[in-house]
Subunit: 316 residues, 2 copies
């Protein structure tokens, strides 16, 4: 199989790291050839607003309006609403930009009118001029929960933002996962996929909630598509965020081999950063060693192209 | 009766004009001696946010954070959320400042938790350091509706903001008024009032919705208190907004006499601007002629003091 303009690529993406690779892929693949499946496990309701941080990060990145410093939120945003909330005596632990608020307000408003998260995401994507489809893995409630040593069970954003992922983690689980349904759009994308890419997102916090939706893991295990994962580690560490700390705490190996073990049965190939080539490698999957750190737009496009070429040549 | 520190004053106020006089009164009367009853007829839900424009105008004015140019909204506010809504293709006909959004977001959030508008207003007032009680006339739904020649029936904000009060009005009515209940706080304030002041607010749009709540008109008609109205007209015109245009359209006389007729049975005294002294005057109420235009803070305090002294001397 050689990938050409008519092969279907599905990317599973969490937040900042995933969005970067997805951006690269979107520059190489036409909208009809790439579908992005996004994580909703870190969605939460804050001051009545339905916030979907990972979907927004992908949306803003693809629309080229993301904050280039943080990777999430909007470029040149202000926090005047938050200043006023503080004046009202509120504990403003979760950052909400003023421009960013429009996204949450519209999403919440439309959800209240009975639209699905899938429909709403499509509307937001379209309105910001993004042509590639972005699909929440489910329209149902699915909430990532983190059992910590210090504070007991925390909803994801409390763990991640309020406590800056410092508490020691004993277990990560997904509230509502047993009743969540994969959307028809996601089912169709997976059924038609010729290639599946697990983006360099946090396996436990960003990809696991996608896999927790009934039917997703089975669809991936019985795939006809090629499937590869891009290791989220560079130099044995997470590029940002708690991926390495968390995998250590959960007894998982922070190495290319650990990543392959985590995705056992789900991937045929692993993309490893050059700086990790001396760490333990897996022996049952094919390996592409390259630079995976994506800083510039050119880095993202190069990595995306390299991955597509590699998978294309392997399966030719 | 001489008004002193232990007499109870109740002010009925709409938006900008009412807020100005209430500000003056708040500088002269201690928090225990002044209660403000606010209009909720122009409350509405916009993008899921519960917005109470008149209550907010009074709140911001008393807290000395109101926009000094418009009289409503917050000083030095920005509209970044609105800019982004527009980018999403929304018709942003209703101005929402970023700081201002915090008020709407908190109110909506707390309403969703089951708190009453009375409780929420008290919390907002307290948080901004305002000591004088501000009471919504009712916690129930009461929506000012405007029957227009051009567009049929419009919800108040559509008439007022979207169409900038240009449509010709045939009738103003109050949806939900028959089922709205006066709060116990409002009932108690009216029962204990020694003096009632109808602020220079739009009689038809700002005061009528207060009077439409069952029991309010009866409480005012059977009052033991002195009751006066400050004419909203200066030089036979409204200081701002549609008061004069609207009263004309509804066949009401735009003069001190017209104002007294509108409030027949509800007031014993009328405060008239010096520029209107040659217009038709009423003959059954006492009249104080003075400058009623409130531009500076000093204007507001002077007018408030003058009114209190006048009523005090009349009823001594």
């Amino acid at each position: 199989m050689v990938l050409n303009g008519h092969k279907q690529v599905v990317a599973l993406a969490g937040g900042v790291g995933g969005a970067k690779l997805v951006y690269g892929l979107s520059k190489v693949l036409s909208p009809g050839d790439l579908t992005i499946i996004g994580n909703v496990g870190d969605d939460f309701v804050h001051y009545g607003l339905h916030i979907s941080p990972d979907l927004d990060t992908v949306l803003y990145t693809l629309a080229e309006v993301a904050n280039p410093i943080t990777g999430w939120g909007l470029a040149d945003d202000t926090r005047h609403m938050l200043d006023m909330l503080r004046r009202y005596g509120e504990d403003t632990w979760f950052g909400l930009g003023d421009h960013d608020l429009a996204t949450h307000l519209l999403r919440t408003h439309w959800l209240g009118q009975g639209h699905t998260l899938t429909e709403i995401t499509a509307r937001l994507v379209l309105a910001l001029g993004v042509a590639h489809p972005l699909l929440p893995v489910t329209d149902d409630l699915l909430a990532t929960m983190v059992d910590t040593v210090e504070y007991g069970t925390l909803p994801f954003q409390e763990y991640f933002v309020r406590y800056r992922w410092q508490p020691a983690v004993e277990r990560v689980w997904f509230q509502g996962a047993d009743r969540a349904r994969m959307t028809v759009e996601v089912a169709s994308a997976l059924a038609n996929a010729d290639m599946i890419i697990f983006c360099p997102s946090n396996p436990v916090l960003s990809i696991a909630p996608i896999l927790a939706v009934p039917g997703i893991r089975e669809a991936l295990e019985t795939r006809r598509a090629s499937s590869i994962v891009v290791s989220p580690f560079v130099g044995g560490k997470a590029v940002k965020g708690p991926a390495a700390k968390l995998m250590n705490e959960l007894g998982l190996e922070v190495s290319p081999r650990g990543v392959a073990q985590y995705y056992a049965g789900l991937v045929d190939g692993l993309v490893v950063d050059v700086s990790d080539r001396d760490l333990p490698l897996p022996d049952r999957v094919e390996i592409l060693t390259t630079r995976t750190l994506m800083q510039s737009g050119a880095d993202k496009v190069r990595l995306a192209k390299q991955i597509l070429d590699w998978v294309g040549s392997r399966t030719a």
